[in-house]
């Protein structure tokens, strides 16, 4: 080390902070909130990230729910209409059957007379 470097060392000699520095640090430490555990911080950060997109997610869920409900209603109406049609067909079938039976019975009566 040459003279210039020794001069640099003298110029950059350590200095002391104010006399109450340690006390101030210890006071600051005493009022500092306890360090958060890693997993807690991870959960909090994830939660914050999630809540940031909550309105968008809620809107998407509502839209999907609405579409699903409408589809469900349409299917129910279709099922009801199908059921009513089957009932109508069955009634019509029964009536037709009765009419046919009456026609057949009239035909038999005429042949006997």
């Amino acid at each position: 080390m040459n003279e210039f470097e020794r001069q640099m060392q003298r110029a950059l000699a350590r200095r002391e902070p104010s006399s109450d520095f340690t006390l101030r640090v210890l006071n600051a430490v005493a009022t500092d909130p306890p360090p958060e555990r890693v997993w807690k911080r991870w959960l909090r950060e994830k939660w914050n990230a999630t809540t940031r997109f909550a309105p968008v997610v809620a809107a998407l869920v509502l839209a999907a729910g609405g579409a699903f409900y409408q589809q469900h209603q349409r299917l129910e109406r279709g099922e009801l209409a199908k059921h009513q049609l089957l009932v109508a067909v069955r009634i019509a079938g029964e009536k037709l059957h009765n009419a046919q039976r009456q026609v057949v019975s009239i035909g038999v009566d005429d042949s006997m007379n």
Partner: protein, 187 residues
């Protein structure tokens, strides 16, 4: 900034790691080191004290990760150095004039030993940030370039080159000043 630093892989000085002191003892032992890094870098007592306090608060938050007294010193040097650079960048506290542009001391300011130290301090404070922290760690802390490279996560060759450049600049500036003074004394 979340700072988690591992202990140096082996003792930088080749000595056995020292046992972990209490937090208060760690503050008492290392306060001059941390404060001086801040002071020589920022040239502002209040800012240097605030920075040192923040660094020790951060140390307290990471206290469970500390392995030895040596690890604490390594950690403090790294965090203090990074904080100094961040502080300057954050507050745009770049030197008003670069070293090349710095005015020479007035004729009344004789460059004798104590004044030469003050002159050098001022010149060091006007170095670019990276060079400044390297010079502070090299001459305040007496660290070897290899140790500085580990603390600042830099190439050893870059550290050596940057320190050499800073020294050349400071030497030229100081020699010029001494020459001027000698001429003034001769008249």
């Amino acid at each position: 900034m979340d700072v988690v630093l591992s202990a140096p892989s082996k003792s930088l000085t080749g000595e056995q790691p020292l046992a972990l002191p209490s937090f208060a003892d760690a503050v008492e032992t290392n306060k001059a080191m941390v404060f001086s890094i801040g002071w020589h870098f920022l040239r502002d007592r209040a800012m240097a004290e605030e920075l040192a306090q923040d660094v020790f608060l951060e140390l307290h938050r990471h206290w469970n990760g500390m392995k030895s007294a040596e690890h604490i010193v390594f950690w403090l040097r790294r965090v203090a150095s990074n904080r100094c650079i961040d502080e300057v960048r954050k507050s745009k506290l770049h030197p008003l004039r670069s070293l090349e542009e710095s005015a020479e001391p007035t004729a009344l300011e004789r460059v004798q030993d104590p004044l030469l130290s003050a002159y050098l301090e001022r010149m060091i404070a006007s170095l670019p940030e990276k060079q400044r922290i390297l010079v502070v760690l090299r001459y305040q802390e007496g660290m070897e370039p290899e140790e500085i490279a580990k603390v600042l996560e830099m190439n050893v060759s870059t550290v050596k080159t940057q320190i050499s450049r800073a020294l050349d600049l400071l030497r030229t500036k100081t020699a010029h000043r001494l020459k001027q003074q000698a001429e003034a004394d001769g008249q």
